[in-house]
């Protein structure tokens, strides 16, 4: 199938992301990659749980989960990221309808929301560091920053990825070559959200209790 071929909404296949063998490969491969990421984060979560609130004798009470975390900020971050998951669903909706402009716009909104999330996270980290809760402060601090930071790095990567998709395809339009690219980027973004659900539950909510 000519992957650069231009389609109309009416001839556009139902599953454009899987209409070519390359697309199908990308689709399956990416899902398997996500399964691999599940285990990756599992290792980080497990390490975090094992080291939660652990530190040298001198760590002090103020640097425990109970005293450190600020739920309102986390709540806002959660809302922003959840919403960005919905906006990427919209983008995929438009992609399936062969509405390129819709796709680009909603992907753009997703990027903006992601950037807001990231900014809030940077603010949060910065705040903790100023309190003295820096990366080397204790085993707990290392585990916390590494877990949440790895998620943050995923967000950053997702932002770069989606923005470059938007840019690289702005002239090309939608075709069977780049439809899978959009699709797996959206999958990635949802996955980031899945991880965050666990972070806000296991790290923040369970920490604050």
């Amino acid at each position: 199938m000519d992957m650069n071929k231009q389609f109309t909404a009416q001839t556009w296949p139902d599953h454009p992301e899987q209409a070519t063998l390359e697309g199908k490969n990308k689709f399956v491969g990416f899902w398997i990659f996500l399964a691999c990421e599940v285990v990756l984060f599992a290792s980080l979560f497990a390490t975090y749980l094992a080291l939660k609130n652990r530190g040298p004798a001198s760590m002090g009470e103020e640097f425990t989960t109970q005293n450190l975390f600020e739920l309102p900020l986390v709540f806002v971050m959660t809302m922003v990221l959840l919403t960005s998951s919905l906006t990427s669903v919209y983008a995929m909706y438009h992609m399936k309808n062969h509405n390129f402009k819709g796709t680009q716009t909603w992907m753009g909104i997703t990027v903006i929301l992601g950037a807001v999330f990231l900014a809030l996270e940077i603010y949060e980290f910065n705040h903790y560091v100023h309190l003295g809760f820096h990366y080397s402060q204790s085993a707990f601090s290392s585990a916390f920053y590494t877990l949440v930071g790895t998620h943050g790095a995923h967000v950053l990567l997702g932002l770069c990825w989606i923005s470059s998709l938007i840019i690289r395809n702005s002239k090309r339009g939608l075709n069977l070559y780049n439809a899978p690219k959009y699709y797996v980027a959206a999958l990635y973004w949802h996955f980031i959200d899945v991880v965050w659900v666990f972070i806000f539950t296991v790290v923040y909510l369970m920490g604050a209790m």
Binding site: M1, A9, Q10, T11, W12, P13, D14, A19, T20, L21, V28, W31, I32, L34, A35, C36, V38, V39, F41, A42, S43, F45, A46, T47, L49, A50, L71, F75, T78, M79, L82, S85, L86, V89, Y90, Y93, K96, N97, L187, H190, F191, D193, V194, V197, F198, F200, T201, V202, L205, M206, A208, M209
Partner: protein, 114 residues
């Protein structure tokens, strides 16, 4: 690889039907989203209200589990057909996650007195 071209020729009725189906699906997604927001809210409120962690912890973990299933099955379309293999891989990953976490919260600090 020789690609067999499956050119899709839909008549207008079919096309309209597809569009409608996608629009319905989209509505479903919005409902899912609302549910997720709702669950998140409850979880935050439950924690803020200061109930005993023994009650709240299982509940918020359950909510997190539901949210993940919603994300996977609705947002990421794992509910569609031909996703058997992918579900198998995802659930295997989740299974390994489970035993890893179980192990790390039980036998890493087995001797807390020290």
């Amino acid at each position: 690889m020789a690609h067999h071209e499956e050119v899709i020729v839909r008549n207008t009725t079919e096309f309209q039907y597809e569009r409608q189906r996608r629009a319905d699906q989209m509505k479903m997604q919005v409902v899912t989203f609302a549910l997720m927001i709702f669950l998140t809210l409850i979880a935050f409120i439950a924690v803020n209200a200061g109930f005993s962690p023994y009650y709240v912890t299982p509940i918020i973990l359950l909510f997190a589990g539901i949210q993940v299933v919603l994300q996977l099955y609705y947002f990421m379309h794992m509910n569609e057909k031909n996703m058997g293999l992918i579900s198998f891989f995802m659930w295997s990953g989740i299974f390994i996650t489970f035993i890893t976490m179980l192990c790390f919260v039980t036998i890493i600090w087995w001797n807390t007195a020290w």
